[in-house]
């Protein structure tokens, strides 16, 4: 069920440069059934900024949800100023997440994230591990100062970091790491900027994959048609990222 709830801010901290981890408490957390879904957050208490901000759910459980986001514009800046004992007006959970069952127990699953696309892969990795799947993570960032959750991912499985400037891990893009990985994967999951998703999907062609997309949104529930993408796989010729996605099987969205 989609709820509109004033959730309690339990924790908020900056975990990398301009990257914040926000933990919220409320009934909405119990409505989440799969990793990779998102919530729509009202940034401030006034009409400016007006629209909600869609933020992916990094982790959830025990009445809490963890969000990791980058404070970049006026809206996310306001969200980063929320402090414990304060509240956040949240609509959710929204969208469709990653199918954990697509990975068979005893096999390896590849998780590829780029920048602020990394967070939802954390909750996914935890659930894969619980299901007896071995997650392998390839995480790309701009530079050392915006890398986050490396240790947490490492605890769940093999983790490779790539930075564009080479200040941590492999210099270059996630695809540079993928080219050198020797594993066999039953399935892959990816979230990040579209050029990265495209490169990952091409590099992993022939393997079942799931991609999480980001698009500018209005309503977040499928009514306003702001976030549509072309597709060749259904008769209407489009999908809505917010309500049909944000996770799609690779090949569904034309990229």
């Amino acid at each position: 069920m989609i709820r509109n709830e004033r959730m309690k801010v339990a924790e908020q901290r900056e975990i990398a440069r301009n990257i914040y981890e926000l933990v919220l408490e409320g009934k909405l957390a119990d409505e989440i059934r799969e990793p990779g879904r998102f919530i729509h957050v009202k940034a401030g208490e006034t009409m400016d900024p007006l629209l909600r901000r869609p933020i992916s759910i990094a982790d959830y459980g025990n009445g809490r949800i963890t969000l990791i986001y980058r404070a970049e514009g006026c809206g996310t800046r306001l969200i980063s100023e929320k402090s414990p004992h304060g509240t956040a007006d949240v609509l959710g959970p929204l969208g469709n997440g990653f199918p954990v069952r697509a990975a068979a127990p005893g096999t390896k699953a590849l998780l590829v994230g780029g920048g602020i696309g990394v967070p939802p892969l954390y909750g996914l990795s935890k659930q894969l591990k619980e299901a007896g799947v071995e997650p392998v993570h390839v995480l790309g960032f701009q530079s050392d100062d915006v890398v986050f959750y490396e240790e947490k991912f490492s605890r769940l499985g093999e983790t490779h970091i790539a930075t564009v400037d080479g200040s941590r891990g492999t210099k270059g893009f996630v695809t540079d790491v993928l080219a050198k990985l020797g594993h066999e994967f039953g399935v892959y999951y990816s979230c990040g900027p579209v050029p990265m998703l495209k490169a990952v999907a091409e590099g992993m062609a022939g393997t079942e994959g799931y991609l999480s997309f980001e698009e500018r949104m209005g309503c977040g529930i499928g009514a306003c048609f702001a976030c549509v993408c072309h597709t060749d796989s259904n008769d209407r010729g489009y999908v809505k990222v917010c309500s049909d996605g944000p996770v799609f099987k690779a090949g569904v969205v034309t990229i």
Binding site: D48, R216, A223, A226, R236
Partner: protein
């Protein structure tokens, strides 16, 4: 009779609150959140003769207390709307106002004739004011003569009353309003969005792929109120007012300016329960203002 009930040509509304066209799809998404029978009416998304994909993305951009959109009338086309979307809405006790759009007069006429015969469609809203399509839309809404002729052509085939949705992107909105009235319009709805732009300072390019978009939200409310006021004083057909409505005093003010009912647009994206919340809040606010019946609000500013 309920103190919130209002009467309009073709429409008996249990309350004067309805979602505006383009902000509510065909109701399916909001039906997950609350009972649509609670609404006074529903203005469904614009329907064109053929399916339309709409414009490239990004289609929306935030602006101070508002937003720009250039969706481009994306819709599944007349056939699907008539055979799937509108019959699905039959399960709710709520009159439907069908928004009709097109590129040519013939398109409007064809859509109007068929859609006006769907049982739950109680009125049409003639979309002559969409700023985001290259042909049709606003080109019909900025020339009084063209607007009047289109209204006449649609009136000739429609089985239900016709409301004409006016554009604010004109020098004198009352001129178009009078032309629509002369063309036989049963009512007017206003305002559609104001054409605007936003640029990305890093690239110097517009943020919206279409270049321009329609401005909506609280930012346009004073303009909308002024136009509802002017138009309702210059015609004798009723007006449904819209433009930045988000709280109960906005409803009061639009009705005071001359609207018989109001539509809520962008606010549905911000507070997804805004329509039922406004319906619940209205009686208490009327009590506070010492007003017995919501109809007493209509055009009360004109009498002062």
């Amino acid at each position: 009779m309920s103190r919130l009930q209002v009467e309009l040509p073709g429409l008996t509304l249990k309350n004067p609150i309805m979602p505006a066209s383009g902000c509510f799809g065909f109701g399916r998404e909001y039906a997950q959140l609350y009972d649509l029978s609670k609404l006074g009416a529903i203005m469904v998304k614009a329907t064109t003769l053929e399916p339309r994909f709409g414009n490239p993305t990004p289609r929306v951009a935030e602006t101070p207390a508002g937003m720009l959109n250039a969706i481009g009338l994306q819709n599944p086309g007349l056939e699907k709307v008539v055979t799937e979307e509108l019959p699905w809405l039959e399960q709710y006790d709520v009159p439907i106002i069908a928004n009709v759009a097109g590129s040519e007069t013939e398109d409007y006429v064809a859509v109007a004739e068929r859609i006006s015969n769907v049982p739950n469609v109680r009125a049409l809203e003639l979309n002559i004011s969409c700023p985001n399509v290259k042909c049709g839309g606003i080109t019909f809404g900025t020339d009084p003569e063209v607007a009047g002729e289109l209204t006449r052509a649609v009136k000739a085939v429609s089985a239900v009353p016709v409301y004409v949705k006016l554009s604010p992107n004109v020098t004198d909105v009352t001129e178009i309003a009078r032309a629509a009235e002369a063309g036989g319009a049963d009512g007017l709805t206003l305002i559609n969005t104001l054409v605007g732009m936003r640029f990305d300072p890093r690239t110097g390019k517009p943020v919206i792929a279409n270049g321009t978009g329609g401005l909506s939200g609280p930012a346009v409310k004073p303009v909308a109120l002024r136009m509802v006021y002017e138009v309702s004083r210059s015609v004798s057909i009723p007006v449904i007012g819209m433009g930045g409505i988000s709280d109960v005093d906005d409803v009061i003010n639009f009705m005071s300016a001359g609207a018989t009912a109001v539509a809520v647009g962008t606010a549905n994206f911000v507070d997804h329960f805004v329509c039922p919340n406004l319906i619940d809040a209205l009686p208490d606010r009327l009590d506070e203002l010492g007003i017995g019946n919501v109809t007493q609000l209509i055009g009360r500013s004109h009498r002062i």
